[in-house]
């Protein structure tokens, strides 16, 4: 192997020397550097403050890594937003179920803690007082016609759609649009209507019983007088 080709030492290779002489015509001819006077060095934007950022940006993986980070950020924000909305809706449902409802007499009554339990429990007993040999039923509808009207309203509530319920019973039963728009809210509305009907029926039965008792006592009193 010729050492001359490597470091120009030793015996000169004739072919290499010939090519050197031949191609030497294209050798670089020294020429002064022509730098315009207004030419200035470009300063790296963040090299002095954050050198690791400039190195990171110089990396080939910077663009795909930045894209992946942005995508992950978007996905995470969407997840957080959906969880927040769910929690908010759940809180509204709880507030709607815990809101006090109104019974047939227009008095506020706290909503039952559990729907099924509330259905089994009897309504609060009405105060029945006997005064001057007459039955006085307090906090009951004054006339039988009122009882029939409230019962008819209850039936309408039971068969009505959600939209009509919103108009008619929204304020009375303490239900809001948001509460009724959910599945649980609609079932709560139906349960409340059922309770209202049951309550009115019990009142009607008690009223009838009280009247019958009154008639029987009167009849017994008349028989005693005759004897």
């Amino acid at each position: 192997m010729s050492d001359y080709l490597w470091d120009k030492k030793g015996d000169a290779d004739a072919e290499v020397a010939r090519l050197e002489a031949l191609l030497g015509a294209f050798k670089h001819e020294p020429r002064p550097l022509e730098l315009p006077a207004e030419t200035e060095m470009l300063k790296p934007p963040t090299a002095g403050v954050l050198p690791f950022v400039s190195r990171l940006r110089a990396s080939r993986l910077f663009a795909p890594a930045a894209f992946a980070a942005a995508a992950a950020l978007v996905v995470a924000s969407v997840l957080v937003a959906s969880l927040f909305m769910r929690a908010r809706v759940a809180t509204r449902d709880e507030q709607a179920t815990a809101r006090p409802t109104r019974d047939a007499r227009g008095e506020e009554r706290p909503a039952p803690p559990e729907t099924k339990r509330a259905m089994l429990e009897p309504p609060p007993p009405a105060e029945v007082k006997v005064k001057d040999d007459k039955v006085a039923v307090q906090s009951l509808p004054r006339r039988r016609k009122d009882v029939q009207l409230t019962a008819a309203q209850g039936r309408r509530l039971k068969s009505a759609t959600v939209e009509t319920l919103t108009e008619g019973a929204g304020t009375r039963d303490g239900l809001t649009l948001e509460a009724m728009s959910t599945r649980d809210g609609a079932s709560t509305l139906v349960e409340n209507a059922r309770l209202l009907t049951k309550e009115q029926l019990v009142y009607a039965l008690r009223l009838t019983g009280a009247k019958l008792r009154d008639v029987r006592e009167r009849a017994q009193g008349t028989m005693k007088d005759e004897r």
């Binding site: 192997m1 010729s2 080709l5 490597w6 470091d7 120009k8 290779d13 072919e15 290499v16 090519l19 050197e20 031949l22 191609l23 030497g24 015509a25 294209f26 050798k27 670089h28 001819e29 020294p30 020429r31 002064p32 550097l33 022509e34 730098l35 315009p36 030419t39 200035e40 060095m41 470009l42 300063k43 790296p44 090299a47």
Partner: protein, 197 residues
């Protein structure tokens, strides 16, 4: 444990030696970064043959001189982007390669026709023919051969300036020379025939 400590010590010693034997371009690059234009002109004098050779291996001879100026102008403007001042040579060679590629991207393809070649005679025509044959060689060989045969650099100088390993430069030189001889119609010498390269 002892080996690890010994290795660490050796590494530290080598680093210290490397720090002590800094190439001259490091100081020149630092001075040029500080605004010293004379230091950059000194860098130009040192590395202009390298850039000239890299360009000559790719673009027509008539364009090389202007492109060398363009390359050094770009290098001056982007000198702050150079991370390791000791790697100025490889860095400016990369700029030259990119500039050559950019030249072919922008310019229309033209055939170089010098006066001597047009006349069909002369020593320069032969040189032009040899240069064209070198340009037809693979990239790794043609750049090394141009730096060696045209710019007159030795193998160690080429390795130092381009940042390549000396062994790689040696292999490129001899394989490239073998190919060049074959294409020039010259028989290889006895060593090449034995395949020791």
């Amino acid at each position: 444990m002892y080996e690890v400590e010994t290795g660490t010590l050796l590494f530290a010693e080598r680093r210290q030696e490397a720090a002590e034997v800094q190439p001259p371009e490091v100081a020149l690059v630092e001075s040029a970064r500080a605004g010293d234009r004379a230091a950059f002109e000194r860098l130009y004098v040192l590395y202009a043959p390298l850039v000239h050779g890299v360009l000559l291996a790719r673009v027509p001879y008539g364009e090389v001189s202007d492109l060398v100026q363009d390359v050094f102008l770009t290098a001056f403007r982007k000198l702050c982007a150079l991370r390791d001042p000791a790697r100025f040579g490889p860095w400016v060679a990369i700029i030259a390669r990119n500039r050559a590629a950019d030249f072919y991207r922008r310019a229309r393809q033209t055939e170089e026709l010098c006066d001597e070649l047009a006349q069909g005679a002369g020593r320069r025509a032969e040189a032009q023919e040899a240069l064209e044959i070198i340009r037809s060689l693979p990239q790794a060989y043609r750049e090394t051969l141009v730096l060696r045969l045209v710019e007159g650099m030795t193998g160690p100088e080429i390795a130092e300036r381009t940042g390549l390993r000396p062994a790689s430069v040696r292999v490129n030189l001899h394989r490239g020379m073998k190919l060049l001889r074959k294409r020039l119609g010259v028989k290889c010498d006895g060593d090449l025939k034995e395949g020791r390269l």
